[in-house]
């Protein structure tokens, strides 16, 4: 998952980006509004974290522009203002959630996770596709109730595929979502990981969870089955 972090405080930006990356996201950092807008327009982004008090272009303006451009990915706002009027205004502008400074990083991660899930059409933190159950909170994967051991990269790949279950995802899309910009890209790597994931998820090759669409990419084919509680 590729996140865009627009925050002008260098310490906060660096440390938060480090912790987001540790949690498995690839993060683009930007320290001012205009630059942030440029990144948001030019690169594929799954979620943006935007500070409201930015130099050169305010966060409010940035969000307005992004929504005017038709960008629909979730936007999480970092703000020092904790008055309800400010919160209402920010969400009305098109942001999806806000976190008041100083925030707890774990809470922020939970919000990011929830926003990404919702953007993929999932209401619960447990993603269910056919026999595969992935818990985004505990990062556990079960197939037919049997726990599956995955490497961190395999997990990230599966999570990305499941969040976009039913959608066709190109290799480029997957690479950009899973690697930071400076990573040397090689689309063969994705092929290799997809192969490994297939063997782990479906050792008997019985239900073929991941389809290959020649020349277009991959799709998680197992049907979404998130039980909508309440």
């Amino acid at each position: 998952m590729r996140l865009l972090l627009v925050e002008d405080d260098p310490n906060l930006s660096r440390s938060l980006a480090a912790q987001l990356e540790q949690a498995g996201y690839s993060v683009e950092k930007s320290t001012d509004g205009r630059e942030g807008l440029y990144y948001a327009r030019e690169y594929p982004v799954d979620l943006a974290i935007v500070d409201l008090g930015l130099p050169s272009m305010s966060g409010v303006e940035l969000i307005k522009q992004l929504r005017a451009d038709g960008k629909e990915y979730p936007i999480l706002v970092l703000t020092a203002r904790d008055r309800w009027q400010d919160k209402v205004e920010v969400l009305k502008l098109g942001a999806d959630d806000y976190v008041v400074k100083p925030f707890n990083v774990e809470e922020l991660l939970a919000r990011v996770d929830a926003l990404l899930r919702r953007a993929g059409g999932w209401a619960q933190s447990e993603l269910v596709c056919g026999p595969i159950v992935l818990d985004t909170r505990t990062q556990e994967v079960k197939v037919n109730d049997a726990k599956l051991e995955l490497t961190s990269f395999e997990y990230k790949l599966l999570e990305y595929l499941m969040l976009h279950a039913g959608e066709v995802l190109s290799k480029t899309q997957i690479t950009e979502a899973l690697y930071s910009e400076d990573f040397e890209r090689d689309s063969n790597v994705i092929e290799v990981f997809i192969g490994r994931l297939r063997r782990k998820l479906d050792p008997e090759n019985s239900y073929k969870p991941i389809e290959t669409l020649r020349g277009r990419g991959y799709r998680l084919a197992a049907e979404r089955g998130a039980p909508d509680a309440d």
Partner: protein, 460 residues
């Protein structure tokens, strides 16, 4: 004249005083002039009568003699012949004996004890028992008889002053009557005129009151040139006040940003490296940071609440704010799928700062969303004096003791309340700014119901 508050009363009072002084002076002058002219006329009449009397004198016998009533009426004033007519006449010889006395005296002696010398003309006021107040003309002459004998005589005519005094009194009555009439008419006209003239001032006063009460944003309409400056200045003042408030808020926002970003950086940096050995120190630092944040947040939110001072704030419709907050909270608590019902009277309005109302409602509704099982109900209606808001939920409810501690939270800045919001304390303080009340009871939904009553701004 500090006691006379009303401009109209002042003008009426001073105009009355001026009119009374003016009319009193005019009255005295007119009265004196009238008296003088009557005195003049009376004296001329007396002289004419004396000369008339002299003309009737018969001196053929070498003695002065005067005709009696037998004389034709036109030759002597008939009043001499009418009893107590108010005109009396007599002629005295130089030894004091009366040669002739008019019939009007009814046989009494002419009331005089003074004889003139020849050539003397003397007017005299006489106040004699049995007679009305009189004015007499005594004229002394030396009479040359045809036989060259001569003798000194005193001719005397007296006139009653009564008819003159009556005329004077009547004149005064008419004078006073007219002056009173004119004064009253002028005061009535003046009063009406003042109402008309003071109309713009009254409008100004009403509008200022409405601005104070938050029913009006600025003074509007055309004002006469004398007070258009005042109205403009008031508008400038209102505008300045509003801008000052906005600047103050911007400063607070900047302050919040510049304080909270470093706090956020510190917390984030702390959570970045979890080192077993450093953990106790990190936890302690985290707690300190949390306390700092609580204090800063609480004080900033308090400072941000404007209260009922709002000069020129428009009445704030409650319904859109509640609707906005519901949408916001539905987004924030999306996974909880809260069913929030609104029962807000469309014309419910709040007289005060919209930010303050949003803060109150936001904290109450957030509380409801947070503690409910699945349902929240918000109601609002306003009376001319108050706005009444309730937020109920189907959670486990709040006991009175819990409420008391919740409302107090944050009041002491050094109080450490990890993980607990300061929302209700802020609500309580903001509500107090509007001389309102905050109560907790049980909701129909089964959980807590928080009820806020807010006084209309500008009312005690």
């Amino acid at each position: 004249m500090a006691l006379v508050r009303s401009l109209r009363a002042r003008v009426v009072l001073w105009v009355s005083v001026a009119l009374v002084v003016l009319f009193a002076a005019t009255g005295v002058v007119l009265d004196v002039a009238f008296r003088n002219s009557m005195d003049q006329a009376r004296r001329e009449l007396l002289e004419v009568q004396v000369l008339g009397l002299m003309a009737l004198v018969d001196d053929e016998s070498g003695e002065l003699s005067l005709p009696t009533e037998s004389l034709p009426a036109q030759t002597i004033d008939p009043q001499f012949g009418v009893a107590n007519s108010g005109m009396y006449g007599a002629v005295f010889s130089d030894n004091g004996s009366a040669i002739w006395q008019s019939t009007s005296l009814l046989g009494r002696d002419f009331p005089i004890d003074y004889l003139t010398v020849a050539g003397e003309k003397r007017f005299e006021r006489l106040d004699v028992p049995g007679f009305p107040p009189l004015e007499a003309l005594l004229m002394g002459i030396t009479w040359q008889f045809p036989n060259d004998r001569s003798g000194d005589y005193t001719f005397a005519i007296a006139l009653s002053l009564e008819p003159y005094n009556e005329r004077q009194a009547a004149f005064r009555r008419i004078l006073i009557g007219w002056f009173l009439g004119i004064t009253l008419t002028m005061l009535v006209v003046l009063s009406g005129l003042l109402t008309f003239v003071l109309l713009p001032l009254r409008r100004l006063e009403r509008q200022v009151r409405e601005v104070e009460a938050g029913e009006r944003v600025k003074l509007t309409g055309r004002y006469p040139s004398e007070i258009v400056g005042l109205a403009d200045n008031l508008n400038t003042l209102i505008d300045t006040e509003r801008r000052r408030l906005a600047r103050y808020r911007n400063t607070l926002d900047d302050l919040a940003h510049s304080l909270k970003t470093p706090l956020a950086a510190m917390r984030t940096l702390l959570s970045e490296q979890r080192d077993k050995a450093a953990e106790p120190a990190q936890d302690a630092l985290n707690r300190e940071l949390e306390r700092m944040d609580q204090r800063v947040s609480y004080q900033l939110r308090r400072a941000r609440a404007t209260g009922a001072t709002g000069l020129g704030t428009e009445p704030v419709a409650v319904a859109p704010i509640v609707e906005d907050l519901r949408q916001t909270l539905d987004k924030v608590y999306r996974d909880k799928r809260v069913r929030c019902t609104l029962d807000v009277v469309p014309n419910a309005v709040f007289r005060g700062d919209p930010g303050d109302l949003t803060e109150i409602l936001g904290n109450l509704m957030d509380n409801g969303y947070k503690y409910c099982k699945g349902r929240v109900r918000v109601t609002a209606h306003s009376t001319p004096e108050r706005l009444i808001i309730t937020v109920g939920d189907d959670g486990r409810g709040i006991t009175a003791e819990e409420a008391a501690t919740l409302f107090q939270r944050g009041k002491r800045a050094d109080e450490s309340v990890p993980g607990q919001g300061i929302g209700l304390a802020v609500v309580r303080e903001t509500v107090e700014l509007y001389r309102g009340t905050l109560d907790v009871s049980r909701s129909e939904l089964g959980g807590a119901e928080l009820r806020v009553e807010l006084a209309r701004a500008g009312l005690l």
